[in-house]
């Protein structure tokens, strides 16, 4: 795979979906966004619970994440719906998105004369944006425009034996082809900083990896207290895991064995290609929001217990770790890596993932897309509300 058929955006990125999103700048605008989306089938509402009442690192953090969300290549146009008195500025999202050469419009509920008038205006704009999106066409795009996000959620004892190593094979192949892969979930890297640092492309990246993981370790201790030291539990040991490194390696092996070219902040768009490590929480939906903001056009999501959640505008491929859960939740799962336990080679799981990615790139829908398991944006939040 050297190229893929994508929708080229004016900023040079390329989407594999061609969607129109409606984004509230603050949760108070969610009902207007929902009302517009009800009347204009095909648009994607990006509901979330933030936009005001937070300070510290969260205001710039949320603002930056929403700005980058609007720049995701899978979106051809965005309508930002603001209220008017929120701390996270709708105008700022609009300006930044426009700088990224994305078609963007904005309405403010207070300015428009209330929810009814804002909804009516929003419906008109959303229809115009859909008509604009319909003029976009797929053209051949170099594979280095492809970013694949990695995620694991609802893991079980087999995730690190079947699904994650299978994804690791696919990750290495994608990086070799020239695509980028983002590994995140810093909490699941605790204990492996010396291993990841060895794979860093240079000393600066190595130091950033160590600092990122050490910082996460401290945060985990603050939240969990003495329990933080029991990350490898008696249950883990009964399952055959001997130490924290072994457990974490089961998670990070999703990223294969390629060199790590860059460390990025949550939701940051990488400036480098190849394997990227993004700082971020282990919570699935917050983590996927960060990956989408970073520009991922596809997310590969491994699961053991079976988590059906997708993402509003990024196709999510579910790789499940056992045949038992695959058969039990077949409608939600794309790939059964559990066949490894029945003697299938891990390489062949990697092959299957690459084959499915090729299909998804050109429009085949993943189970999460078919089931409309879109959910909402969950923004990484570190301070308390006021």
């Amino acid at each position: 795979m050297q190229t893929f058929m994508g929708y080229e955006r004016a900023d040079g990125t390329a989407g594999i979906r061609n969607l129109v999103a409606i984004l509230p700048s603050v949760s108070c605008a969610n009902p207007v966004v929902e009302a517009i989306a009800r009347e204009v089938p095909g648009v994607v509402p990006l509901l979330h619970g933030h936009g005001c009442g937070r300070g510290g690192c969260d205001l710039p953090g949320h603002s930056g994440t929403l700005q980058n969300i609007c720049k995701n290549p899978n979106l051809s146009a965005v309508l930002v719906v603001g209220l008017g008195c929120e701390s996270l500025s709708a105008a700022r999202i609009e300006t930044v998105t426009a700088v990224a050469n994305r078609r963007v419009e904005r309405i403010m509920i207070q300015e428009a004369g209330g929810s009814g008038k804002a909804t009516a205006r929003g419906i008109e704009i959303a229809k115009e944006l859909l008509a604009f999106a319909a003029t976009q066409e797929r053209t051949p795009q170099p594979i280095d425009k492809l970013i694949i996000g990695l995620e694991c959620g609802g893991s079980d004892a087999f995730s690190g034996i079947t699904a994650n190593p299978g994804v690791g094979v696919a990750s290495d192949r994608l990086v070799k082809m020239g695509a980028s892969v983002i590994l995140t979930e810093t909490t699941e890297m605790i204990g492996t900083s010396h291993i990841l640092a060895k794979r860093a492309v240079d000393e600066k990246v190595a130091a950033q990896l160590v600092a990122m993981i050490t910082n996460q370790e401290k945060k985990t201790q603050q939240v969990l207290g003495p329990m933080a030291k029991r990350i490898i539990s008696p249950g883990n040991q009964d399952g055959g895991m001997s130490c924290i490194q072994e457990k974490a390696l089961g998670c990070i092996c999703k990223a294969g064995s390629s060199p790590i070219n860059q460390v990025t902040a949550y939701g940051e768009i990488p400036s480098q290609k190849g394997l990227i490590v993004m700082d971020g929480p282990g919570y699935d939906t917050e983590s996927m929001t960060g990956l989408a903001a970073a520009g991922a056009q596809i997310i590969i999501f491994t699961t053991g217990r079976g988590n059906p959640i997708g993402f509003p505008f990024v196709p999510v491929i579910k790789v499940v770790s056992t045949s038992k859960v695959y058969n039990h939740m077949k409608d939600d799962m794309d790939i059964n890596a559990g066949t490894v336990l029945e003697g299938r080679g891990i390489e062949s799981v990697g092959d299957e993932i690459i084959t499915l990615i090729e299909k998804v790139l050109t429009g085949e829908q993943t189970k999460a897309e078919l089931n409309r398991q879109n959910g909402i944006l969950c923004l990484y939040t570190q301070t308390t509300a006021f």
């Binding site: 034996i161 190593p165 040991q237 130490c243 390696l249 092996c253 003697g343």
Partner: protein, 88 residues
């Protein structure tokens, strides 16, 4: 015979048991090689693929996860009881 152990990475010197393997039963690798289990090895636990000396690395996922605290032989069960986890 059907393999009852998986090797996650080509550099690994341990495999992962795909079923409960009892002492003296055959361990069968994906390439067909078979040798006896020197201990009971539970499902998803680690089995040693080569003879190693005290202080040698245990490699899983292509990375060193720990050092062994004693000499071990091919077919041994590798876990907290024979790893040197001091200072971890």
């Amino acid at each position: 015979m059907k393999p009852n152990v998986i090797i996650i990475h080509p550099k690994d010197n341990v495999g992962v048991a795909l079923t409960d393997i009892h002492k003296d039963e055959s361990i069968v690798l994906p390439d067909g090689e078979a040798f006896p289990a020197l201990a009971d090895i539970g499902f998803s636990h680690k089995v040693l693929l080569t003879n190693i000396s005290r202080g040698a690395d245990i490699i899983k996922y292509g990375e060193t996860i720990a050092k062994v605290g004693q000499d071990l032989r091919k077919g041994d069960w590798v876990h907290v009881h024979n790893l040197n986890l001091e200072g971890e």
